[in-house]
């Protein structure tokens, strides 16, 4: 059962690293732990016979998006969370409201588990259906992407262009400002 062992290893790694992302005070450590979590997730994608998604996860997420985050953290001089003063004065930090928020979070988890229990196929093995060679090949992914999802793919390019223009416009210094 090497596959089962690998699944639990990488699933545990992804969950622990993500939980630690939330727990860090320094955003730099958070980003490094999130890259660890993305590496574990890409291993899970390989277990799911999706090597294209696994590589895209490493290249796009860990390679591009996280480096963007790292640059911004370094650019902004990595400010620590100035929590102490806000925490004491902020109305959301009063015990009553905090307890209410914790209750809502617990409710979300209960609701998700209840929904998952009711999924009929949840106990069937995930790799049972379909032809593994056809599902895992980049050729078949590309064929479906450029035929059935052609319009969505082209719309994606417009989205990236708009995001790029917006980012440049938002981050540019106004003229006359130092």
């Amino acid at each position: 059962m090497p596959e089962t062992i690998l699944f639990y290893l990488f699933a545990g790694m992804a969950i622990v690293a993500s939980a630690l992302v939330i727990g860090q005070r320094n955003p730099m450590y958070s980003i490094m732990l999130l890259i660890t979590s993305f590496g574990a997730l890409s291993a899970l994608y390989i277990l799911l016979d999706a090597p294209f998604v696994a590589m895209a996860q490493i290249i796009v997420y860990a390679g591009a998006i996280m480096v963007l985050f790292l640059f911004v953290v370094m650019l902004l001089n990595a400010p620590q969370e100035d929590a102490a003063e806000w925490d004491r004065t902020h109305p959301l930090r009063r015990p009553g409201t905090a307890r209410f928020g914790a209750m809502l979070a617990g409710l979300l988890i209960v609701q998700l588990i209840w929904a998952l229990v009711r999924v009929n196929e949840s106990s069937t093995a995930v790799g049972a259906a379909g032809d593994v060679a056809a599902i895992s090949s980049v050729r078949s992914v590309g064929r479906v992407l450029f035929t059935d999802y052609m319009f969505a793919f082209e719309a994606t390019s417009i989205l990236i262009l708009v995001a790029m223009v917006g980012a440049v416009l938002l981050a540019a210094r106004e003229t006359g400002q130092q």
Binding site: Q57, Y61, I65, W86, I109, I135
Partner: protein, 100 residues
Amino acid sequence: MIPLGHYLVVSAVLFSIGTAGVFLRRNLITILLSIEIMLNAVNLSFVAFGRAQGNVDGQIITFFVMTVAAAEAAVGLAIVIGLFRHRESLNPDAFTLLKW
């Protein structure tokens, strides 16, 4: 073989962690990172469902989610830089005015 439900549970746990991060943290960058965790949790369930159905559509949706995540990170971080320039803070509670 691993049941589909196991992947869905991992996805649900990751999504809950991301939600908790958005609500608990008082740092704009960590909040954006939590949103990335939530997007990844959804990606995992898409790929797992696609594998269980035996087609590649789940992987393709994941590709689009990644594109949206890249656009969201670029614009979100540009906004964070703009906010930091005005207030010298990353605490979302410092940005309570619509105009300054």
